[in-house]
């Protein structure tokens, strides 16, 4: 994939909070490699005001990146009643784990729950299947 082209699109900083979802867990129990697990995992939920600012619409494919990795997922408008500008939500999965830091401050515990990353419009790129994620292909 040519990630260079994303550099031309505006990037915004975002803090990602990860969470668990029962439907995603159910899909995982059925099949890790199935479409359902991918569809329920490779998403990022954004505050509607943030989406407006970024020019990103629900269903757009976005590129997330930080110094630990990068991943392409689908943007979805958050269903939270409380605004959460600057914060986005992602279900815990190998897609969110692609961005988790390997720095643990000598604790052995990575910070899975709060991830700093940048987000930009991926202009119709494909979301990687689980087996195409970088973790298994280096």
């Amino acid at each position: 994939m040519d990630f260079g082209k994303f550099l031309e699109t505006p990037e915004y900083d975002i803090k990602i909070i990860t969470y668990r979802d029962i439907f995603q867990s159910e899909a995982l129990e059925n099949s890790l490699f199935g479409d359902e697990y991918k569809d329920l995992s490779a998403i990022i939920k954004l505050d509607s005001k943030d989406m407006e600012k970024m020019g990103i619409k629900s269903g757009n494919i976005v590129y997330l990146k930080n110094k630990y990795g990068d991943v392409v997922v689908k943007a979805v408008e958050s269903d939270s009643e409380n605004p959460h500008r600057g914060y986005a939500y992602m279900p815990n999965s190998p897609w969110s784990n692609s961005l988790v830091s390997d720095e643990t401050g000598n604790t052995g515990v990575p910070n899975y729950k709060l991830i700093d990353a940048s987000i930009s419009d991926a202009k119709g790129e494909d979301i990687a299947d689980i087996e195409k994620l970088e973790v298994v292909n280096v």
Binding site: K15, I17, Y19, R20, D21, I22, F23, S25, E26, E29, N30, S31, L32, F33, G34, Y68, G69, S80, E81, N82, H84, Y87, Y89, S93, P94, N97, S98, L99, V100, S101, D102, T104, N106, T107, G108, V109, P110, N111, Y112, K113, L114, I130, E131, L133, E134, V135, V136, V138
Partner: protein
């Protein structure tokens, strides 16, 4: 045919629900009752059962086991990882094997609820109780950084908020208050309604100290937007509790540098009222692994055996071992580190031979040199496990299988060695 008077145990999470009814036909499960979505899905077994393979080609179990022994024998610093989804019998075997091999041994508690379980087993936290105690007595239930509606779907209905209990005959209608403290509006927070408290990430310790102040009659202060009245209102509910319980989720555990704030809060709460503390453990037998290793070595995870010595420390955690590339083979049992570890660390698994023992295909198994299919515990083989609250639960298989258990696989690997 319905097994009318037989209840089964679900092993899809560490509540280990023991009231599961199933229907079977010709030794396959045709109906699952009482379980939640996640449980039903686990009990119906996976869509991609693991084939027995060596270097990507089909092989038989005997060959896979002797090749496993060969790799482990040659390895200078092997890692044994997983076991949160294994029976206690398999866990004990894995500890023996790790000793025999001078291996590193770790599990997922190393990067999730480990610190809490350690504090409980070390006796640093004495305020624990069982889920049955909660059902019978609890009037105030606090979920802090936890969302059981998604992670442990029957926690609220079987044990904490909704059920009638011995001293809580009116259940959630009148007898119980459920509180959620979290950084996002979770499904559990929605159930808690007005008793849901949203805080910014990493501010848990501040809220703990503000609550301690409020419980001590001082004016609580926090640096983030949260009305003092709300904090006082929360402190008041906690103070009036006759039997309160805090269930700590990963949200709370990850946001604290150490355990001191929780200890401060629990001490204060028990000065002014009556409070208990329990971790929300994920995998069905993670606590069993921690307890079995603790009995054997005095440590709950992150150990390295060296002749008769046991070394322990963060440097023996799965994360640091893989990050520093210090292990030269990995035996993965009932776990999928390629999925659950940060990508930046898990990618190092690609550089060493991996052996996976699992009932289902995993991302790790697809990159493994050897895959050995095992019976799915709780469904295809029986055993025992330790529930999230420390209670031992025994279970029988629901159906018969020709696959062997991970305990038996480990036994045979040891024999080959």
């Amino acid at each position: 045919m319905e097994d009318e008077d037989k209840y089964n145990v679900c092993t899809a999470c560490s509540i280990l629900c023991d009231d599961i009814e199933i229907e079977t036909e010709n030794n396959s499960i045709t109906g699952v009752y009482t379980a939640c979505r996640k449980g039903v899905s686990r009990i119906q077994t996976c869509n991609e059962p693991m084939p027995c393979t060596l270097d990507g080609k089909d092989t038989d179990v005997d060959t896979a086991i002797s090749e496993t022994a060969n790799i482990l024998k040659k390895s200078e610093n092997p890692l044994i990882f997983g076991l949160g989804n294994s029976t206690e019998g398999a866990q004990k075997k894995a500890i023996e094997l790790a000793k025999q091999l001078n291996a590193n041994l770790d599990d997922t508690s190393s990067f999730c609820q480990g610190p809490v379980v350690e504090a409980i087993l070390n006796g640093e936290i004495n305020y624990t109780c069982t889920l049955d105690d909660v059902r019978n007595n609890a009037d105030v239930i606090v979920y802090w950084g936890a969302d059981p509606a998604n992670s442990h779907p029957r926690h609220l209905s079987k044990y904490t908020y909704f059920p009638r209990g011995k001293y809580r005959q009116k259940g959630y209608d009148e007898d119980r208050t459920a509180i959620a403290i979290d950084v996002r509006e979770s499904s559990t927070a929605e159930i808690c309604g007005n008793n849901s408290y949203l805080i910014p990430p990493q501010k848990d310790e501040e809220l703990i100290d503000a609550l301690i102040d409020a419980l001590s009659g001082k004016v609580p202060k926090v640096s983030f937007e949260m009305n003092k009245k709300r904090i006082l209102e929360l402190a008041n509910i906690l103070k009036k509790a006759k039997y309160g319980v805090i269930f700590a989720g990963l949200g709370l555990v990850y946001s604290l540098d150490n355990f001191e704030p929780i200890k401060r809060l629990m001490d204060k709460l028990n000065e002014v009222s009556n409070f208990y503390f329990n971790p929300m453990i994920g995998h069905y037998n993670m606590r069993g692994f921690n307890q079995n290793l603790f009995n054997e070595t005095g440590y709950i995870n992150r150990v390295k055996f060296k002749d008769s010595e046991v070394k322990h420390g963060y440097e023996y955690s799965v994360v640091e071992l893989l990050k520093n590339k210090s292990v030269d083979s990995a035996l993965i049992i009932g776990s999928d580190p390629m999925c659950s570890l940060p990508g930046s660390i898990a990618r190092n698994l690609n550089k060493i031979p991996i052996i996976t023992i699992d009932p289902c295909e995993t991302l790790t198994s697809r990159k493994s040199r050897i895959n050995i299919p095992s019976a799915l515990s709780g469904v295809e083989c029986g055993g025992s496990a330790i529930r999230m609250d420390g209670v031992r639960v025994n279970f029988e298989p629901m159906i018969e299988t020709s696959k062997i258990s991970d305990e038996e696989i480990l036994r045979r690997v040891m024999e080959e060695l």
